[in-house]
Subunit: 123 residues, 2 copies
């Protein structure tokens, strides 16, 4: 392969790293905890947040997901009893998402998996 624009080199490097790690992470989280990478990220932000709750809109900003994808990630988590939706009094368009006890517990376990996978596959 002839030498490429350094821009392309670094893009390929980035793509390669991301793909490898994301794939491993997704598989591990799915296999051990039944979570998508996105699902885990949602849980993670919630646990980090004040009172384990956050508005969907804030999740959208933090995560690298579209609004619809975020909404559906919350759907999935809710269906598993890991989070709850709640009315947002101050702005009734908004929806709070709150991690349940079960959600926090699962997050703690999944965090171990995440760290293990990152430790192994992130150079």
């Amino acid at each position: 392969m002839k030498t490429k624009d350094p821009l392309i080199e670094s893009w390929r490097e980035l793509l390669s790293q991301y793909s490898r790690v994301a794939h491993e992470l997704d598989r591990a989280l799915q296999a051990r905890h039944g979570l998508t990478m996105s699902d885990y990220e949602v849980l993670d932000r919630l646990v980090d947040a004040e009172g384990c709750k956050s508005r969907i809109h804030d999740l959208v900003v933090d995560l690298h997901l579209s609004q619809s994808a975020s909404s559906r990630a919350v759907d999935r988590l809710e269906k598993c009893g890991l989070v709850q939706r709640a009315m947002c009094e101050s702005d009734r368009r908004g929806v709070f998402v709150i991690a349940t006890d079960k959600g926090r517990a699962l997050h703690e376990q999944a965090r171990v998996t995440q760290l293990a996978v990152l430790g192994e596959h992130l150079v």
Copy 2:
């Protein structure tokens, strides 16, 4: 946000970079040339390859795609007349994929788009 494990910091950094660039790139390629990022990558490998042809199996190794996704990327490109499939004499399980003139021409245009997007969004 409290400080995190440096492993998590770099993972988030990687995820963030990738998502931003990939999103922009995908949109630009789709809008201007009707190509997926993956489609473009396939074309790119073909153009790089000896005689603009490569076996699907080799594409799978190079690209960060499953075998089925690669096969379907080739389907799409073939449907647009950008590549052709051809028998592989030496191993009749295999399939060669060959970029057509149209494919090479489109690749050249798309490359400009890629470089522009990378230049703008890749730090």
